[in-house]
Subunit: 272 residues, 4 copies
């Protein structure tokens, strides 16, 4: 049940390497310290108004981190590709106003410095989990890295991707289970809840869950968020949009503000 070291060396990410769990502190907020951290916001930053409105709801409901994509990995070249730096500026302003931390995805080594300038946490998306050039260069950045599991990555491959970042010098890596690809096509992905306790046992890194991408279906976000918490997740990443039906990306999975408020209320009950 433990990885074969002789076969595939693997060092810093291992639980044995570090007895205490890694706790990452950003501007006073601690991730992985036993309290649940919630990241929420729209898939894409679409306008100043949209991200401002999102930030307000995120803060009022008690979540800590604002998400929003500025450089979007879209399956089709004809889909909305994000607002780029302009979007990052909008998000920084909104996050600052409401005292939120911020997170956004980086897709290209050429954009690392730019994105790191505006946000608190850098995200590596599923499609780039084995973009080794990106992993190595993010290992030299002085900000936490939020690493999403590849859609067909094994636990071993996932931890070895984290290892690239750790080995390059950045010890602040957050793992995120976001659903894997299976034969079942009713959901966008099959959320692998068991990844949570397994990665907690194999590694000392914080582990998050993303029930929005994990299912792709709005009304599964609540039950799957609760399941992730029951299984021991350190945090959640939730897609919430002020007006999901007008979202430029991932419209089916973003939840409405009122449902996000209900979710946060239920999470607080469970936590208690």
């Amino acid at each position: 049940m433990t990885f074969n070291e002789s076969n595939q060396p693997y060092k810093f990410a291992r639980h044995e390497f570090k007895k205490d769990r890694t706790v990452i502190t950003v501007k006073g907020h601690s991730i992985g310290d036993g309290h649940l951290t919630v990241i929420a916001g729209p898939c894409s930053i679409e306008s100043e108004e949209q991200i401002h409105s999102s930030a307000k709801i995120v803060a009022e409901c008690g979540a800590q981190i604002l998400r929003g994509g500025a450089f979007k990995p879209r399956t089709s070249p004809y889909s909305f590709q994000g607002l780029g730096e302009q979007g990052l500026i909008m998000m920084k302003k909104a996050a600052d106003e409401f005292g939120l931390l911020s997170i956004s995805e980086v897709m290209d080594t050429a954009d690392i410095d730019l994105i790191a300038y505006y946000v608190d946490i850098l995200q590596i998306g599923s499609r780039n989990m084995q973009n080794f050039s990106l992993l190595k260069k993010l290992g030299r950045v002085k900000k936490p890295i939020f690493l999403k599991r590849g859609m067909s990555a094994t636990y071993k491959e996932f931890l070895l991707a984290a290892e690239y970042i750790l080995n390059a010098g950045n010890e602040e890596v957050i793992l995120c289970e976001r659903g894997i690809r299976t034969f079942e096509s009713y959901t966008k992905n099959t959320m692998d809840i068991a990844a949570i306790p397994i990665l907690r046992e194999l590694s000392h890194l914080p582990i998050f869950a993303d029930p929005s991408h994990g299912t792709g279906i709005r009304n599964l976000v609540l039950p799957m968020a609760l399941a992730a918490v029951a299984a021991g997740t350190d945090g959640l990443m939730i897609e919430m949009h002020p007006n999901p039906e007008q979202a430029l990306s991932d419209a089916d999975q973003a939840i409405e503000p009122q449902d996000f408020a209900k979710l946060m209320a239920q999470l607080n009950k469970v936590a208690a």
Copy 2:
């Protein structure tokens, strides 16, 4: 998001067919009424002493149904195949002594009457989920059927398998998510927790979860049982053995009596 009726007719299992959820009552115990039902016991019935000891623990910890296999579907013909009728006699005695209901698997249409004579609920295993002859004949039995999802069955195929039973006249079908086959080989199966809220929405039938087969790893049973409860399961099926290391089958996933006691205590807390 709903099945295409014109393409694949599908009637009795659907939520629309029956507004109230199906509640199945067996000897005074109700399944699917909002309270959690727990089925527990060894993979295989191995001896009078083993099943008696198992039943005692199951009852003392507050579970309601005793499981134990007498006819075992084993991947290899050289593995232990079960004690047959002798095992059923042993289990009935143990269940009766401790006031438990009992469940056992049926693999062959030729054995239906025999097994139905001794147990309260008949189980169809994953490998037989699309054994249509078995489904049809169990549709004519007057006992509840516990139908496990095939290891690569879609939700639609799962519900159509239930439909075979319902259509043949038996309205008492319990669905059970028990893990699906994916590329990840660290666990025996990938437990599809999202199946729980999805099947609750698509159908009126009670839905259970089996974290023992769902993961195949003893120390994942607790977190995954909690996750299933958080996601809304009507019940759990847990492999518990008085002495897991000496189990003749599924030794890696059966939990010890003391861990089962802890699990039941935690479930009661969550329920409260």
Copy 3:
């Protein structure tokens, strides 16, 4: 790369057990002797005229075995379930008239004697590959068994299913690769062509390929049949219907008589 014997005993199906490859002779036709054997015919036997017309085409094009289902494993209880014994009588008459061997699927241990009375080879379908009661009882029949790979069965599980039959006394087992279930939904299944050379290396049993179920798309049958031959298959199973558009089952994958004639002509070229 060889199966771990200590972990999962496995004996008769192994290549090491028998140095020469198994050749099965039925009414003078040898299967697995180095010549390609072709099984063809409709998914279901639908009428005397349909199976007669099918047999005529199968024979004229030079194939040796007529297929046709009388007991059909259908995903939905509302789909056509087959003509039963009546269908077997029709197929036997047609096969005899054109000097063809015949094959049909058995789904229930209760039907074994009946089907064995009418056909030369008994088929176990994918959904029943791990119906162990059926495997054991077919191990006591004196006719060859055509065993289809389960849709998510590993090579090891497939060979252990064959082992059930061999171990019960029937040495005449033919393996058939028919596509596995993957994330790709464009095709009905993903045909695992590598199974052919792998199973030839691991076992001495004849190995066939079914490009009709393997893809589920009519115009992929020819290229995938040729690929299977190039990879070393002992035989092919092809769905051909005198009038595919009116087929009561699997209408999308059955090829027309003229395309079957072209396929047989190409196979003869490749063989030469």
Copy 4:
């Protein structure tokens, strides 16, 4: 059976867009013109002697393109990462000496110009199939792009990845099926031979097959190469190493020079 345009726009890669199949001509060699093109060489460029010796064998056996990795996407940061520019210099020298074309993988947008300076064809590996920044920038390069299918990419996602390149202005894209990830762990990947006829029907782009990565097992390379040819592939990519047992990467799947010679001889027979 065709992609839904309204749902996911998709234009240049489609067969309907261009009636004639795309033929790519590099230094006088045509790819996709009906003749089989063979790319061969080691996984990694390891030394001047190794790549020189490889090039000699590739040329003598009649293949046209030399492969060799200089920037290697390795699952672990502790595995050999490639010789970088030094390796490219070695490969260019060897390719030139034997009149071969050359291909190597690019992993980072920062390396595009460097790699494009030394090789004739730029490869995008499976792990980067949805590295959209890389795809867009390679769409502005004036050399052919060899795009490998992601290990869990659907046909649609694969063609949309090609579309990113085409849409950015580079019309010379070669698709390559290299095995997908399934539940079967006996082979490294499951080679999806049906992808060949399907992609030929959906698109006008040349389609190659890589039986080395497609199986990960040396002695499956020959039968799977033949199967790919039978299914209509435009070309093959084969890992061959002068001394496979001493290879620094992919030692299990590289074939020996004498087996490569046999493979080329058999391919010539089949072609004739």
